[in-house]
């Protein structure tokens, strides 16, 4: 088990900044920018006012930066669970290339999930949401087309979610992390789209033809779209607030 995760019970660990230890070189990069200094200020804060009130039967993602991180963690849990299932029992009409694609993406999404879990437990102890139970009843995992279409939905939704939530992050270091993940989600989205129909990686149905912009969705809209695949009821109304 990771040292980061198991260190969660030690009060002294909580007081440490996001980057533990601060690498000398990366610190210099941060010190140069106002945004970086703001991140340092946040790490110097003792108080955490992200307390959330839970409604019974609901998973409240929370507010502030930890709300955004929990939101990302919820989506990564969903994606990771989906790909783990595809990897465990791939559709019989998958090509070897497609099986290989799903195996690699399963690893990427599991890493995203596990990384966010470690980061939230370290930086906002006690604020992480519970493990979610996926509901994939609507997906026929035995059919290539059904699995590819579901993968496209999850990946495009993931891109739109990160694109819409980045502006709610107040800590520059978290924004960098979100940016590092979203471009990989976009790579997944492009590739699965090409598997469905070569050339559809960024076609007019997903990228605005006039502005060349990918879509962005607000957290409540993303959760509304994802809710059918999750047994627990998620509340994203305070994400980023």
């Amino acid at each position: 088990m990771s040292k980061i995760i198991t260190s969660g019970g030690d009060e002294a660990e909580f007081a440490k900044p996001l980057y533990v230890p601060i690498k000398r070189r990366s610190f210099f990069m941060y010190a140069g920018a106002t945004a970086g200094a703001t991140a340092l200020l946040l790490s110097g804060c003792d108080d955490d006012d992200d307390d959330t009130v839970s409604t019974p039967g609901m998973v409240n993602l929370g507010s502030g930066d930890v709300g955004v991180l929990n939101y990302a963690y919820a989506l990564e849990q969903l994606e990771a669970a989906f790909y783990a299932r595809v990897k465990a029992s791939p559709a019989s009409d998958f090509s070897n290339t497609e099986k290989d694609y799903f195996n690699q993406v399963a690893a990427h999404e599991a890493i995203h999930r596990d990384f966010l879990k470690a980061a939230i437990n370290r930086d906002a102890p006690g604020k992480i949401i519970a493990d979610l139970n996926p509901n994939f009843d609507s997906i026929d995992f035995t059919k290539r087309t059904a699995v590819l279409n579901a993968a496209r939905t999850f990946e495009d939704l993931g891109v739109q979610a990160y694109n819409g939530a980045g502006k709610y992050l107040k800590t520059a270091a978290y924004l960098v992390i979100a940016g590092q993940i979203v471009s990989v989600e976009a790579r997944h989205a492009a590739y699965v789209r090409d598997l469905i129909s070569n050339g559809s990686f960024a076609d007019d149905s997903i990228v605005d033809a006039a502005t060349g912009l990918d879509k962005a969705l607000e957290p409540v809209d993303v959760i509304a779209a994802a809710q059918g695949f999750i047994k627990e009821k998620l509340d994203a109304t305070n994400v980023g607030k």
Binding site: L41, V182, A202, L213, D214
Partner: protein
Amino acid sequence: MNIFRIIEQLSEVDSDALGRFDSRRAVFKTLGETAKKGALAAAPVFVASLFQKAYGQTTAPSVVEVLNYALTLELLEEDFYAKMIAAGQVPAGAPAAAIALIKKHETAHVTLLTNTIKALNGTPVAGKKFDPAKFPADYTTQLAFAQALEDTGVRAYKGQAGNLMGKMAGTTSLLQVALQIHSVEARHAAHIRTMRAQTPWIPTADSSLPAPLGPVYTGAIPESNVTQSGVNLTTQLGTTYTANDAAASFDEILTMAEVLDSSRAGGLVV
């Protein structure tokens, strides 16, 4: 905010942190006065300027500077694809359609960024072209250049996100717009990479690009990096992951200076 704890943390990684501030006493005097005036809201700005002075870094670029930097890259990409189409070697069918779609997006990004800079009363850069002397003669190398440009574009946008935090153009979040361009560049990169029979994502070692494109995946934080926010993704997540999967699951940033370095995009623009 606990400025003392921040400085304490700094001292742990930088033994002469305090010596870097022009005068230790002056710093705390100013801080004290700021607090007395109740101007705590100004404290982050004060501390930011303090760190900038202490570490001799240049001021963070202005919004217009960031947008002009993005526009420079988009102009470079747009002209590259125009030259690629004009060279007439892209096979008809799927490859030609893909290159045309990507070119269309780069043109749209140029228009969007130009208009945004004007709306902010800035002067958009213009006339940035792909150096004709560097344009490859054969289609295979052209595709390799396209991969280098797209993967660099992804890293470049990512590197500027922090400088766009909270920056607005009217009611539009400039950060969000930049993110919406950024993910499109990533879609392009994925497709170009598959046109070259590469994985759509960037593995630990990507040595498939011919010179002078090698440095695309290097940098202060190379694409082979497997540690994020102090967490080693291969060993510290409770499950063991391969370095290849760990590196591929996160794209890395490039700084403005790195992108404009002559060994990267800076060496291709005229």
